[in-house]
């Protein structure tokens, strides 16, 4: 066990925990932030995507000891009440079906728009290809990302 200070969604947390514990389980089990999802555990599906200093990361494969003093943002911290342009666009396009993968999709999309406010179709494909949606909402996700890009202009 080791002590860690984590900055999650602007709040500080102190934890005494095994150093190898993936951040995903720290968030879900210890901080009760369950918006970040488990899908594969091997960084292949993107359901666990969070931001580390604004960069999209797979939290299932990120040991808590590797976080350091970087700021963690989860879906719960993306906005207070779903006001982020990506979230608004998701609602406008009524993207989700089962909804399970969508937190990860939204976090990846939000990081994409931050880096690239006007992504092309292939930019979107490239950024989003790591996120599986088993329900097949890809066409709506793409449309929503484009809508969100327009909102930001």
């Amino acid at each position: 066990m080791a002590k860690f200070n984590l900055n999650v969604n602007g709040k500080n947390f102190q934890l005494d925990i095994a150093a190898q514990t993936p951040l995903l389980w720290v968030l879900r089990d210890h901080l009760k932030l369950v918006g970040t999802k488990y899908g594969c555990g091997i960084a292949q599906c993107g359901a666990c995507t969070i931001h580390l200093d604004g960069v999209a990361m797979r939290s299932c494969s990120l040991p808590v000891e590797a976080v350091g003093d970087k700021a963690i943002t989860t879906i719960e911290g993306l906005s207070e009440k779903g006001e982020h342009s990506i979230q608004r666009a998701w609602l406008e396009h009524d993207v989700p079906q089962c909804g399970y993968c969508q937190a990860g999709q939204i976090m990846t999309a939000a990081a994409l728009l931050k880096d690239n406010p006007n992504p092309s179709d292939s930019d979107i494909d490239q950024a989003m290809n790591g996120n599986i949606c088993r329900c097949g909402t890809y066409t709506r996700i793409k449309a929503a990302i484009k809508s969100a890009a327009k909102m930001e202009k």
Binding site: K37, G39, Q97, C98, G99, G136
Partner: protein
């Protein structure tokens, strides 16, 4: 207006004191009710709620809560079912709250399917009860107003949650009348609206859980938390055909950090007579219980056990009141052996399921015979949320919560396993992170409850992705041979289909093109297996449609006919002069979707770089047709566009319905291109997404256009029907692009194309 018997008795149409008092809802408030997200104003909660029936309560301020009876896995019934009720109740959608009803066979009769999500039956089965529930409550509100105002009830009208009496110019809101109305007699018959008067049905409403989903609220079974809850995982045998002999390192595991216990659990009681959905491969597995997911995960990986072969057995299974016998062979099975077995059986006579005319005679005198073989592999469901369940089992009662499609299907097994009567088991249905048929087989709920009972604590059982993929209830593997006899003028004389699979035949002998050909023969076979299989989005259809519609495409080409025109000619025959009386489809509606997709896709337009495939199918009481446009870019097939036409009767929530059709199309393309599970010595050969190829953003169609046939026919299934025909639309377009027909799924196997 149509007058309709309410058919409710007091028992099913109850004024539930449990709900009125909030007692039943308290345990459920964790999944807080959802506000329609297209209304931005805060809704004020009423001081008091009044129950009208199992489906709704009305607050003193006019707010309505509608309980969505069926579990939600993305098909959006949690929005569309309340829409149906709200329509007949005649309320403003923005004043409607929606809550997921708990499992309650008393309130939602029809067990085991009263609250079943699957088979594309939800809307079809609830269409009438939901309308009656809304109309009955409206009638009770009218009766209350009539009594209050001392006027005839027929003189009362309603609009958007307000009661009016035209002659006296009186008006009052539903909320103010709710207290009195809830005490009114339940009407014996009610008037239902005509479709032309619909204000909510047919008008798109946003997903009621939309905001909760995009803000990461706890909605799913895996999100379930309870004070003192432990985490449990299971270790199942490494191969189908095996079971546990002994755990080798119990003490070592127990000594690991955070671990409470490790022990074997028998998945069924001895001699338990299983139900039809009690599908579960392993008689005995290992449970690991501890404080946190990571600790349990590490312990699970460290478990060492001795496994042994199962013995072959023949069991009697209760298939909804009818006993059937199921043989489970011993042994470690291989995909290559399955393929050889199927090929061998194909060459032998098999069970004839339908014969019209003289098919053998027709083949003898044929000028040309075309014979093609089609196959499809096992598929894993791969729901994004792995199987899981929460259970808190006490001495004489239990509380379980989690994702499942059919609580009524597993509840008897749960009760028998725990020795606790069903009425003492409280079952919450969480939003499912996908289902696709997998969660109709929810034995993981029983496993969770047995673990909780053993450790005497609330636990949440979680399958890892590897558990989920390697302890599946797979889509069976199938094979079919189609033969066509043509005369010298290329007229279709006879059609012959032989189909089978492990462990079931995929054949629907009475589906199109049966009924459109004078001489028709359908035969089938099945091979026993110990690999567990079950429903997978449009069971059996999901293979047969691809085979049949690919074959028809080939026959059309052989006869020199346009593939849509060829199908329409057959359907014309089936309509005007059908062969046989058992045909299970309506040729006119079938032709309707083909005609609509032909129009909407601008079929016949020529673009040398665009390769188009068409396909249509009928299943789950609905009709779907697709035109798929493909290009080849850097050697890879790229789906540019899919145009889809569907006839599922009245469409409740058009945009959400389109979303589901889009999903079925993407799912189908993914499985047609990549989907495959194989077995070697009983071991599933893929265990996570690095091996099991799923369709991703860049491989999805760039555009999908969904069109619904407009009619006033009672609604039928939608979750499944768009899925099966897409396989052949892919195959037929790939043929246009490459000149090579696709017979064996998955269609893309070459590494250089897979990338």
């Amino acid at each position: 207006m149509a007058l309709i018997k309410t058919t409710y008795n007091r028992r099913s149409f109850l004024k539930s004191s449990a709900i009125a008092g909030g007692g039943m809802m308290l345990g459920f408030s964790w999944f807080a009710s959802c506000k329609p997200i297209d209304d931005n104003t805060e809704l004020l909660m009423p001081d008091e709620w009044f129950d009208f029936n199992s489906y709704l309560k009305i607050g003193d301020n006019g707010l309505i809560t509608i309980f969505s009876p069926n579990p939600e896995f993305g098909q959006n019934v949690k929005t569309s079912m309340p829409m149906i009720l709200a329509e007949e109740l005649d309320v403003d959608w923005k004043n409607v709250l929606v809550e997921q009803a708990p499992y309650s066979p008393e309130q939602f009769p029809g067990a085991p399917f009263g609250q079943f999500t699957g088979g594309s039956r939800g809307i079809m089965m609830k269409w009438k009860p939901l309308r009656i529930a809304g109309a009955s409550a409206k009638q009770m509100l009218k009766a209350a107003a009539a009594q209050t105002w001392q006027v005839a009830v027929d003189e009362i009208t309603t609009e958007s949650g307000v009661l009016h009496h035209e002659a006296s110019k009186k008006s009052i809101g539903y909320g103010e009348m709710a207290s009195l109305a809830a005490q009114m007699a339940i009407p014996e018959e009610v008037k239902l609206k005509e479709p032309k008067d619909y204000k909510i049905i047919g008008h798109s409403k946003k997903n009621v859980d939309g905001l909760a989903i995009v803000t990461g609220k706890p909605l799913f079974g895996l999100d379930y938390q309870k004070e003192g809850m432990l985490i449990a995982m299971a270790v199942h045998p490494p191969a189908f055909g095996m079971t546990l002999e002994a755990i080798n390192n119990t003490e070592e595991i127990k000594a690991m950090p955070g671990i409470k216990d490790v022990f074997p659990i028998k998945t069924y009681k001895d001699a338990y007579k299983k139900g039809y959905f009690d599908t579960n491969a392993f008689p005995e597995i290992i449970a690991v219980v501890g404080n946190s997911t990571w600790e349990v995960l590490k312990a699970k990986k460290a478990v060492k056990a001795k496994w042994k072969s199962i013995e072959g057995s023949t069991n009697t299974i209760d298939r909804f009141g009818r006993d059937i016998s199921v043989h489970t062979p011993a042994g470690l099975e291989n995909t290559t052996d399955h393929n050889t077995q199927m090929e061998t059986l194909m060459a032998k006579p098999m069970k004839v399921v339908r014969r019209d005319g003289d098919p053998e005679g027709a083949f003898k005198k044929a000028a040309k015979i075309i014979e093609r073989t089609y196959s499809a592999p096992y598929l894993a469901h791969n729901c994004m949320e792995p199987m899981n369940f929460f259970a808190d089992v006490k001495k004489d009662k239990a509380h379980v919560a989690g994702p499942l499609q059919g609580p009524g299907l597993i509840e008897p097994t749960l009760a028998a396993s725990l020795d606790i009567p069903e009425e003492n088991i409280e079952t919450e249905m969480t939003r499912m992170g996908g289902g696709f048929g997998r969660r109709a087989y929810s034995h993981y709920m029983v496993e969770a409850a047995l673990i909780s009972q053993k450790v005497n604590a609330p636990i949440k059982l979680m399958y890892t992705r590897e558990d989920d993929m390697t302890n599946g209830i797979y889509r069976p593997t199938y094979r079919a041979i189609y033969r066509a006899a043509l005369d010298e003028s290329n007229n279709l004389l006879a059609l012959h289909v032989k189909a089978g699979g492990v462990p079931e035949s995929p054949l629907f002998a009475n589906r199109f093109p049966a009924g459109s050909v004078d001489n028709y023969l359908a035969e089938e076979f099945a091979i026993d297996s110990n690999i567990t299989t079950g429903a997978f989005r449009a069971p059996r259809s999901n293979f047969m449609a691809g085979a049949e519609q690919s074959f028809l495409d080939e026959i059309a080409e052989e006869t020199g006919k346009d593939p849509i025109e060829f199908r329409l000619e057959l359907l014309k025959r089936a309509k005007e002069n059908p062969v046989g009386k058992e045909n299970d489809y309506d040729p006119e509606r079938y032709a309707g979707v083909l005609e609509l997709v032909r129009e909407k896709s601008n079929w016949g337009q020529n673009d040398a770089n665009l390769h188009r495939g068409v396909s249509a199918y009928f299943c789950h009481n609905s009709y779907a047709a697709h035109v798929l446009d493909l290009t080849i870019e850097k050697g890879k097939p790229v789906v540019q566009k899919v145009t889809c036409a569907i006839d599922c009767g009245i469409v409740i929530n058009p945009d959400a319905a389109a979303n589901m059709a889009e999903g079925g199309i993407v799912d189908g393309i993914g499985n047609a291109f990549y989907g495959e599970m194989t077995f070697k010595d009983g071991v599933p050969q893929k265990n996570n997404f690095h091996q099991y190829r799923m369709i991703r953003m860049s491989e999805a169609p760039k555009k999908i256009d969904v069109h619904f046939v407009q009619n006033e026919i009672d609604p039928t299934g939608l979750g499944e029907p768009p899925f099966p025909p897409i396989f052949a639309a892919v195959a037929n377009a790939m043929y246009k692009a490459s000149g090579k027909r696709q017979y064996h799924q998955p269609f893309i196997r070459e590494e250089k194309i897979l990338g």
